[in-house]
């Protein structure tokens, strides 16, 4: 119950990274992504160094490599696309392993692959070291419009409620001799899916009202104060800081070449 699948995003731990306040981490990841995207695609070794930086974070946070790889499947469609671009791309062509490929396409494929992958891994590390609820508190701290944060909070809650209601409905169906085995059963599932939306909403609505009747006014009361100390901000911003340094270095080198 209640263990919506988004909880598995978070790997409980007590590392330096875990302990950083969420607002620091959010800002660090965003800044890192911007630096990565701003890097010209020709600077191969800069991307290599970015990857090393992320690997450092992963090690510090004790996030296993297999976990990161498993979560990277979200990127798959774009990886396929990246490999496709050289094949269908326009312009000057070259032959690699007997296949005719577009040069510009190769560059574009590499560009998307490198930047998207770095961005994805950074986000994965953020989610792995910060509870969803806490990320939202961080967003609140970063002055994201409170209505948006509230909607997101309810969204997380409702994902739980929906999962929970789905589980209840499944148990109820099975305990009355139902097994979804073949296509004839789809209408049953479909009909109960219609009820699911309303059930989830109404349960959620009552919970919301329960919150209101205990004085909720749109902001979660801050029970544990999480404000970032200077040291923590410095630790968090070290990631984009170093990335920026890499970018600067690569620019200098690019000039001198």
């Amino acid at each position: 119950m209640g263990a919506g699948h988004h909880h598995q995003l978070y790997l409980a731990g007590d590392s330096v990274v875990h302990r950083l306040p969420p607002q620091c981490k959010l800002l660090a990841v965003a800044a890192f992504a911007i630096v990565v995207v701003a890097t010209p695609r020709e600077r191969f070794w800069a991307f290599g160094l970015y990857a090393v930086l992320l690997a450092g974070v992963a090690v510090a946070a004790r996030v296993p490599l297999t976990y990161v790889l498993r979560r990277m499947v979200v990127e798959l469609p774009f990886v396929l696309f990246a490999f496709l671009i050289p094949v269908i791309g326009l312009g000057e062509r070259t032959t690699v392993l007997g296949v005719s490929l577009s040069v510009a396409g190769l560059w574009a494929g590499w560009n998307i692959l490198a930047k998207a992958t770095l961005g994805v891994v950074a986000s994965i590390l953020l989610a792995a070291t910060t509870e969803p609820r806490v990320i939202l508190i961080g967003a609140q701290r970063l002055r994201l419009p409170s209505l948006l944060v509230q909607i997101a909070m309810f969204m997380l809650r409702y994902m739980d409620v929906i999962m929970d209601e789905m589980r209840r409905m499944r148990v109820a169906r099975e305990s009355r001799g139902f097994e979804a085995r073949n296509f004839r059963h789809i209408p049953v599932i479909a009909r109960s899916a219609g009820a699911l939306f309303i059930r989830s909403y109404e349960r959620g609505e009552r919970v919301h009202l329960a919150m209101l009747s205990r004085g909720y006014s749109g902001r979660m009361p801050m029970m544990d104060e999480i404000s970032g100390s200077v040291g923590q901000w410095a630790t968090a911003l070290a990631l984009p800081g170093m990335a920026l340094a890499v970018l600067g270095l690569s620019a200098v080198q690019g000039l001198s070449l």
Binding site: M1, G2, R133, R157, D164, R203, R206, V207, L209, A210, M211, L212, S213, R214, G215, Y216, S217, P221, M222, M223
Partner: protein, 253 residues
């Protein structure tokens, strides 16, 4: 009407229909004075839950009016009303929403500005009262039904409301917990309105009872007298349980 604050709850000609068109209340009138403990009895589907949901503005009157300690329940007074009226829902799952029992009980007081050591004390005190201190760090949705009900009561006790409205608080409680709850309610100096199907429990706790049936109040009087009127009870699907006899008066204070 001169000293409205003497009346904790006043409901006038209250009617309500649910969005799907089912009308549940057909003009309810009632008045509860400060400090009274009143039982609200009635058959399944009579509208009891619908009525109590109006008392802190969770549902808003389709017709008629509700006022709490002299303040009418309206959009702009909701915040104040909700701090005065503590409502224990019939289904504890509707009431508990935080990741741990501690957070859940702390939610109300934290919203009204309590924090730090005092918050901790309030939370522990409330859980102590319902005998649930040992589950303080567990997620509420991983408790047994009865445990959840007790935590739900604690979340409301922690807010120290002046008016306590409880919708079937004793259902799913074990007999000892039921008695302990009665003791807690008796020890508090607050107005209590309690919905229950447990007539002996109503008699034990409440001097006065109301019977709601088919969306209107059909009886209002001393619990002892109402329960003695077998015919009235039977008309509204109420009856005294097997093996129960109304004990001699003045046993309980």
């Amino acid at each position: 009407m001169n000293s409205p604050a003497v009346n904790s709850l006043e409901v006038n000609r209250l009617a309500y229909a649910y969005p799907d068109g089912t009308q549940a209340l057909f003009g309810v009138d009632l008045t509860i004075r400060r400090g009274e403990r009143v039982a609200l009895l009635g058959p399944n589907g009579a509208g009891k839950t619908t009525l109590v949901m109006h008392l802190n503005g969770i549902l808003t009157a389709g017709h008629g009016s509700v006022s709490v300690a002299g303040t009418p329940v309206r959009k702009d007074t909701l915040k104040e009303i909700r701090q005065r009226v503590g409502l224990v829902f019939q289904d504890p799952d509707d009431q508990l929403f935080m990741p741990t029992v501690r957070d859940d009980v702390a939610f109300g007081p934290a919203n009204s500005g309590v924090s730090g050591a005092e918050l901790e004390r309030t939370v522990k005190g409330a859980l102590e009262r319902v005998g649930m201190l040992e589950v303080i760090d567990r997620p509420p949705h991983h408790l047994s039904f009865g445990q959840r009900r007790r935590v739900a009561v604690a979340t409301v006790l922690a807010m120290e409301p002046e008016i306590l409205v409880l919708d079937e608080p004793s259902s799913n409680l074990d007999p000892a917990a039921r008695r302990e709850l009665a003791e807690v309610l008796r020890s508090l100096d607050v107005t209590v309105l309690m919905v229950t199907h447990d007539l002996p429990y109503a008699l034990e706790l409440c001097e006065r009872s109301l019977i709601l049936s088919d969306g209107v109040i059909v009886a209002d009087g001393s619990t002892r007298e109402l329960l003695a009127d077998t015919e009235l009870l039977a008309r509204h699907r109420l009856e005294l349980p097997y093996g129960f006899a109304i004990p001699a008066p003045a046993e309980h204070g």
